[in-house]
């Protein structure tokens, strides 16, 4: 099962063909991340990260509604998102912009909704989601001359 673009896995297979062990383990980490957290949570993070990084291929969702997709960039004031969504999206944005500056309030806000285990799992899933997009963007820049 995957929530990301159907074009992403083939890109990874091509670019990591010289390192099959890494491809296998990275794919396993992606699959585990998808299984470990709620699909809505996963896609809120995946699509918002895509918006911030400019990952055009990941700007679609089978989980989020059309209204949610249209309002995602305006999540602080959009009525489509509840308190948990806002806590998660605030954390995701700070993670992408300046991960070393995440403060206690942002972290505790997510813990209040997901609990300690849920927060720890979400952090690991976020690592996978962001990393896959940054890898794909880097490969595009290096090998295709596009972002």
């Amino acid at each position: 099962m995957t929530l990301e673009s159907a074009s992403t896995a083939p890109v990874f297979a091509t670019r990591l063909a010289h390192a099959p062990d890494v491809l296998t383990e990275l794919t396993a980490a992606h699959d585990a991340a998808v299984q470990a957290i709620d699909p809505r949570l996963y896609d809120l993070a995946r699509v918002r990260i895509a918006m911030l990084l400019g990952t055009q291929s990941e700007l679609e969702s089978r989980v989020l509604s059309a209204d949610e997709m249209a309002k995602l960039a305006q999540w602080p004031s959009a009525t489509e998102f509840d308190a948990q969504d806002r806590a998660v999206l605030g954390f995701v944005e700070q993670w992408v912009i300046d991960v070393a500056s995440i403060d206690d309030d942002l972290a505790n806000g997510v813990v209040q909704h997901l609990g300690g285990d849920g927060f720890a799992t979400f952090i690991h899933a976020l690592l996978v989601i962001e990393q896959r997009q940054r890898l794909r963007l880097a490969w595009q820049q290096l090998f295709e001359g596009t972002t």
């Binding site: 383990e25 585990a32 957290i37």
Partner: protein, 55 residues
């Protein structure tokens, strides 16, 4: 130096399969030997700086 309080409640654990998958992936990446040691170390230190990682 940044001073932080623990963010994870004591005893919190990530999903075991995801945690294991991440460890296995990182191990596979570390085993790669096609990048020279100096470049590898530069990347490692730059990542540590970006993440404010002191380990």
């Amino acid at each position: 130096m940044t001073v932080r309080s623990p963010r994870l409640p004591k005893g919190s654990r990530s999903h075991p399969e995801l945690q294991r998958a991440l460890v296995d992936w990182q191990a596979a990446a570390v085993r790669l030997d096609q990048v020279d040691p100096l470049t590898t170390e530069l990347v490692r230190l730059r990542c540590a700086q970006h993440h404010d990682c002191h380990t």
